[in-house]
Every structure is written in structure tokens, then in C-alpha cells.
Symmetry: C2
Subunit: 196 residues, 2 copies
DNA sequence: TGTTACATGTAAGTCGTTACATGATTAC
DNA sequence: GTAATCATGTAACGACTTACATGTAACA
């Protein structure tokens, strides 16, 4: 049930609409959680029912023929977020298609295997750049969300807030580097196996 | 739909019962995929209906008052496995509770955060040992499944079969090391933040 | 006038988890 | 006899995906 907590966490920086939240899960650099928009809208409604968030309907545009719903945390929502952060995680069960598939690469043609390693590499290189950019922005305290969050917290807490986020995204970067390295050694392996 | 392919892959080494397959997903070292037994039994029935596997009912014990169903791949099943291996994977969407939570560690007490990093470390250290043991066993060609698989394959293919598996589990070990390192730096960070 | 971005949803289906349920066999 | 392991399932629920659906607003 972590989508709920991902949403609570984003909303703790200030009110947002479902649409804005969905953008964070889809496109922004600070996404360690993914969710498609239908799941977000329904979860927000459920959370509203559970009293974790409240929605304020806002008019859109000058003619105001449409409304948008901006959600903000309630006391209960803020408490639930803090409770969850302190709670110990049980490690997630392992499910990795790329590695599962690679276990049986002997069934595929060498060019196919090589292409798959190269795609794997390209994907994680892109991710790496994304994480590195984000770490730089966090250090500069130059992201929208972080600025909002810092403005709500006492000065003394700022360093910790920034440091934990930097630590997370540096961790993501380190992970990406491992994947790139794995793919590189994969390509080398294909070469070694084809030219004996 | 990768449970299906994980099952096809295991069955390609020879017939197995649902119970044996479930053990591989739960307990054995060579699990890059997890699934609980109800899902396995139902998926096997579905796959049987789709003609990817056939079941042979075998008597259990001398009195044979119970039966077990050993599944083996059909031609279609083996073909589907090979098709899937050659198919390019789209990268899985990111969903990581540990990292998501760590992003908001400023909300928890330092001892709580420290405990969480230590648990993270302990978990991945255990995993690391598991992967390392498995790599050693694969190199020695000393796992039940590998022996069965090699016995079905031509001598010339043996090196590739072993090499890809070694590569996967070395990759898993490398991942575990990154997590351990991340947790270590996490503990250091807590210390730094608490003793200024 | 048409395209892109904003904004919110429903519905159907698949995949995964958890609890419940049953019974046989093996080893002590 | 009793506990552990073998062996197979059903049922209910929760999480996630995909397709469909609708309309507004901003901009060129």
C-alpha cells in the first residue's frame, strides 16, 4: 500500500491536484515510485474517504467552466506519513524480468543477446544522468518541491531534509552504475563466447 | 506475465510438480523471481489449458492414495520460452519502498533511521552470501538444476549456459554490494547529522 | 482551426497476496 | 501419536494496467 504513502509524502510539501501528482510519478526526476493516473485519482478518493486528505475544488480559467480538485493533508494524513516512515520495511520479494531472462540467454542468438545488453545499458545510462542531475539540483536546493518543503520546516532541519534526499538519489545513481557495468560485462561475455 | 516464463524456464530442465516449483521460488538460491504457491498452481493449470505444459499424474507413496501432478513442457511451451528470451524487455517501472521511505527519513528519530539502515544492510549481506554461494556452485557445475540442464544440451553449449547464469548471479551480488554500501553510508549520515 | 497541455474520471481485466482448507506420507 | 514435510487447491481481496471516455484552456 505504498502508493498511498508516496502520495502523502508529496502532499506534505503542499496541496496538489491529481494531475500534478501524476506528473511527478511519470515525468519528474524525483520519482522512486511509479503509478498511472487512474490509480492516483482512485487512491486519492479513497484517501479522502479515510480522512487522510481533503480536497478543495478550484475553478479553472477565467470562465471557470471546469473545476480541479487540489488535495491537502489532514492531521491524520500527516500522522500516517510519520508513522509509516518510522515503521520497518519488510524487503520486497524479488521480481526482475531482465535478470530472469538473462539467465536463459543461451537460447537466443548472440546478436539478440548483445542488443539486449546494449538496450539495458542505454536505459540505465539515461537513468544515471537523470539521477545525477537531480542530485545536483537537490544540493543547490533548486527543485520546486524541495523549496516548498524547506519553507515549511525550521531552519535547523534543512540540512537533514536535503541530506536524506541526496543520499537516496546518490543511491539510485550507484544502482544505475551497477547496471551499466553489468551490461558492459554482458557484452564482453557475448564477444568472448562467439570468438573463441 | 513473467511468472509464466519463469515456470517455463524451470520446466525446461525437466518435469516438476507445482510443489517443487514453489520451493524454487521460495527457498532456493536460484530465485530471481518470487511467487507464492497459489499463484503457481493456478498458473500451471492455465498454462496446461493453453497447451504450453502437460501434466502427468503420478501416485505418491506405496499405498498411492494421493496423486501428484508433474508438469513438463510441450513443443509449444519450449517455443514460447525461446520466443520470450529473444524478445526485448521494456524496463520495469520503478517502485521501491525502502528508497521512497528513506527520502523522508527526516520525519523519523535518528535511532529509528539507523535501525532501518542496519536492517537494510543485514538483509542485503545475507543476500550477498546467498548469491556468492550460488555463483561458486554454478562454476563448479554443482547444482541440481544446472546438471539436469547440461545433460540435455550438447557439450559445445555448456560454457555459454554456465557463463550466462554466472553473469546473472554475479550481477545480483554486485547489486547486493551496492545496497550494503548505501546502508553503510546511510548510517554514517545519521551519525554526522546527530553529532554536529 | 487544430494541436498540445490541462484535468478527471470509469470499466474491465490481470497479477499478486493472504487466509483458509484438506489430506497423505515420513520420521521420530 | 505427533510433528514436519509433501502436495494441492479455493476464495477473497488488493494492487496495478490498459483501454476508453470526456471536456476545457492556451497557443499558434
Amino acid at each position: 500500500m505504498s502508493l498511498r504513502h508516496a502520495l502523502l509524502a508529496l502532499l506534505d510539501a503542499g496541496p496538489m491536484t491529481g494531475y500534478e501528482l501524476a506528473k511527478h510519478f511519470d515525468q519528474s526526476a524525483d520519482r522512486v515510485w511509479h503509478a498511472p493516473h487512474p490509480q492516483i485519482y482512485t487512491e486519492l478518493r479513497t484517501m479522502e474517504g479515510a480522512g487522510l486528505v481533503v480536497a478543495e475544488e478550484q475553478p479553472r480559467g477565467p470562465k471557470a467552466r471546469a473545476v480541479k480538485r487540489a488535495y491537502r493533508l489532514t492531521e491524520d494524513g500527516a500522522r500516517e506519513l510519520r508513522r509509516w516512515v518510522a515503521e520497518e520495511e519488510t524487503p520486497a520479494p524479488l521480481r526482475d524480468t531482465a535478470y530472469l531472462k538473462a539467465t536463459y540467454f543461451e537460447y537466443a542468438a548472440p546478436e539478440t543477446v548483445r542488443r539486449q545488453f546494449e538496450r539495458h545499458r542505454a536505459h540505465h545510462l539515461e537513468q544515471l544522468h537523470r539521477w545525477e542531475r537531480h542530485v545536483a539540483q537537490l544540493r543547490a536546493r533548486d527543485t520546486e518541491l524541495l523549496r516548498r518543503r524547506l519553507s515549511l520546516a525550521p531552519e535547523a532541519a534543512h540540512d537533514a531534509i536535503v541530506a536524506y534526499k541526496v543520499h537516496v538519489y546518490e543511491g539510485m545513481a550507484a544502482r544505475a552504475r551497477v547496471e551499466i557495468d553489468w551490461a558492459d560485462r554482458g557484452v564482453e561475455l557475448v564477444d568472448k563466447l562467439t570468438t573463441p
